[in-house]
């Protein structure tokens, strides 16, 4: 059951990733990215990260991607033109080299990790909101406060940059 869910959602994630790179229209790429984020949220649930899965859907798929979709609709971005300046040779050899590189990395990863343990749904119970809250407000308090300042800077920057010049 775990393996079935993993294969289905990993397949959806890879398919949406390829579609993100290969589609011409930016809205189709944005929807593919939302598909990737949704399937990654299911994989996080399998790995015991229930709070992070919910945060992924609320923050990433529900707010950041809405921002992307708004900007695409606002700028009326159309489908890309067909004149890619990359030669066909470079494109095909590039894809082959990427596949070879990924195969090499997969082999290296598989050789490095112990094969005895696998992922069992429910083996890691520590991903609750309680644990994350505890760690966030005690051990990682400084990064938390610095991140809130970072968000404030981002808000101010976005407001200044997108303002109408009078």
């Amino acid at each position: 059951m775990t393996a079935l869910i993993f294969f289905v959602f990993a397949g959806i994630a890879v398919f949406c990733g390829i579609s993100l790179v290969a589609q011409t229209h930016p809205i189709a790429s944005a929807l593919s990215l939302i598909g990737v984020m949704g399937s990654l949220a299911i994989l996080y649930l399998q790995l015991g990260g229930e709070f992070i899965a919910a945060a992924q859907v609320i923050v990433y798929a529900g707010a950041i991607m809405v921002l992307f979709v708004f900007v695409i609709m606002l700028l009326n971005a159309g489908a890309e033109g067909a004149s890619l300046q990359v030669s066909n040779f470079a494109k095909y050899v590039g894809i082959l080299l990427l596949a070879a590189f990924l195969g090499l990395i997969s082999f290296a990863i598989q050789a490095m990790l112990p094969k005895t343990e696998g992922v069992v749904f429910g083996a890691f119970q520590g991903g609750t909101a309680l644990n994350i809250g505890r760690k966030l407000f005690t051990v990682y308090l400084l990064p938390f406060e610095v991140t809130s300042v970072l968000i404030l800077i981002a808000i101010l920057g976005a407001m200044v940059l997108a303002r109408k010049e009078i």
């Binding site: 229930e50 899965a53 919910a54 859907v57 609320i58 529900g62 809405v66 979709v69």
Partner: protein, 396 residues
């Protein structure tokens, strides 16, 4: 295997009841708005218009589904599907009652309980923005695009006060799952005042309801889909079943928002006063309803009422008798009482939704956004800070 079959049965029951409720919620809305406006509403199709939803469904199914020529077909067809799927999915974590034991099976009256249940509902409503935005954009129509962008901007702006208003009862109850939230609200102060979250969190409840009005695009926040301002907004190019899907999604969102408000603030399925006395309330309510119907049936205003009103009186008497009979079967009593109180509270909140629709004019769009960012969001934040202060001080 046992778990799967049980979940399938529960899902089938919930789906059937929910879809019927959505159809008849439209009937209730039309009747209530009509009576507030001193007219009758749907009257001819079946007794008092009771078959009107059926007629509407048949009309919408058999209508010609026109797909305009220059729309982006994939997204045009995907948007209502996305909207209605996400609207129906969040009912899965809503508990309708306590644990019951039917024969060999012990289960809760809930499809599934996640220990991040409240975050799940927030997540689904966050992603529900895409149905509206894509529907508006894919229609290749400037009114639809404007309506879609405005509606999705409104929905994401009001998600902030909604989430902050939800966070205050979470601070009190210290849990994210709906089941534990309702269990936290059990018990009575001084023996008769229920320990609902609405007494300490009245500000949070008001903020939640206002943000809920805006999240579901209801009056007074329904400028993006207004008929006179924006030519029906983002669903102007949709016809037949796709339009029905958007409509159903809006009513399902309304049911979700009121259910979550009931569970978080009004104590869920628990009665407002202690057990032995509150058991007679359903019987009294339905008996009183049947007496009122009988009285009006003796001096009917219209000729048809000579038959339908006594029939309604008989129906209510039958339901009161059912509640009375359930005293002998404890499982049935638990189920019926929990359902009565939960549906009663949700029904009152839905009546408030419909009442507000018939009463208030709509906000202009900049007034709407200003209200969210300048008034409601700081208010929700102040509420959360006060709640945090009180919890911190009282747990020393």
């Amino acid at each position: 295997m046992d778990f799967f079959i049980l979940s399938l049965i529960k899902a089938a029951i919930i789906a059937f009841v929910l879809l019927t409720t959505l159809a008849y919620l439209q009937w209730i809305e039309r009747k209530v708005i009509a009576h507030i406006q001193l007219r009758v509403g749907p009257y001819r199709v079946g007794p008092h218009g009771l078959l009107q939803p059926l007629a509407d469904v048949v009309k919408l199914i058999t209508k010609e589904g026109v797909i305009p020529s220059h729309v982006n077909k994939v997204f045009y067809l995907m948007a209502p599907f996305l909207a209605v799927t996400l609207a129906l999915i969040s009912i899965a974590v809503i508990p309708f009652g306590p644990q019951i034991t039917i024969g060999p099976v012990t289960t809760w009256m809930q499809l599934t309980d996640l220990n991040i249940g409240i975050l799940f509902v927030l997540a689904v409503s966050s992603v529900g923005v895409y149905g509206v935005a894509l529907g508006g954009w894919a229609s290749n129509n400037k009114y639809a695009l404007l309506g879609g962008l405005r509606s999705s901007a409104q929905m994401i702006s009001y998600e902030l006060p909604l989430a902050l208003a939800v966070a205050s009862p979470l601070l009190l109850a210290n849990t994210l799952s709906f089941r534990d939230m309702v269990n936290y609200q059990s018990g009575y102060w001084l023996g008769f005042i229920p320990r609902w979250n609405v007494w300490p969190e009245i500000l949070g409840f008001v903020v939640f309801m206002i943000a809920g009005f805006a999240e579901t695009n209801r009056v007074p926040f329904d400028l993006p889909e207004a008929e006179n301002e924006l030519v029906a907004g983002f669903h102007v190019e949709y016809s037949s079943m796709k339009f029905a899907a958007f409509f159903m999604a809006e009513y399902a969102n309304m049911v979700t928002v009121t259910s979550v408000a009931t569970l978080l603030f009004l104590g869920g399925w628990q009665p407002p006063f202690p057990e032995p006395y509150s058991d007679f309330v359903p019987i009294l309510v339905f008996a009183a309803g049947s007496l009122v119907a009988l009285y009006h049936g003796l001096h009917p205003a219209r000729r048809m009422d000579r038959f339908t009103l006594p029939a309604t009186a008989l129906l209510f008497l039958g339901i009161a008798a059912l509640f009375g009979v359930s005293f002998l079967v404890p499982v049935l009593k638990t189920i019926l009482m929990a359902l009565f109180w939960f549906c009663g509270k949700v029904g009152i909140l839905l009546f408030v939704f419909i009442w507000v629709r018939a009463t208030l004019p709509r906000f202009r769009y900049d007034q709407l956004m200003r209200f969210a960012w300048i008034f409601l969001f700081p208010l929700a934040m102040v509420n959360l800070l006060l709640t945090g202060l009180i919890v911190a001080l009282s747990s020393k």
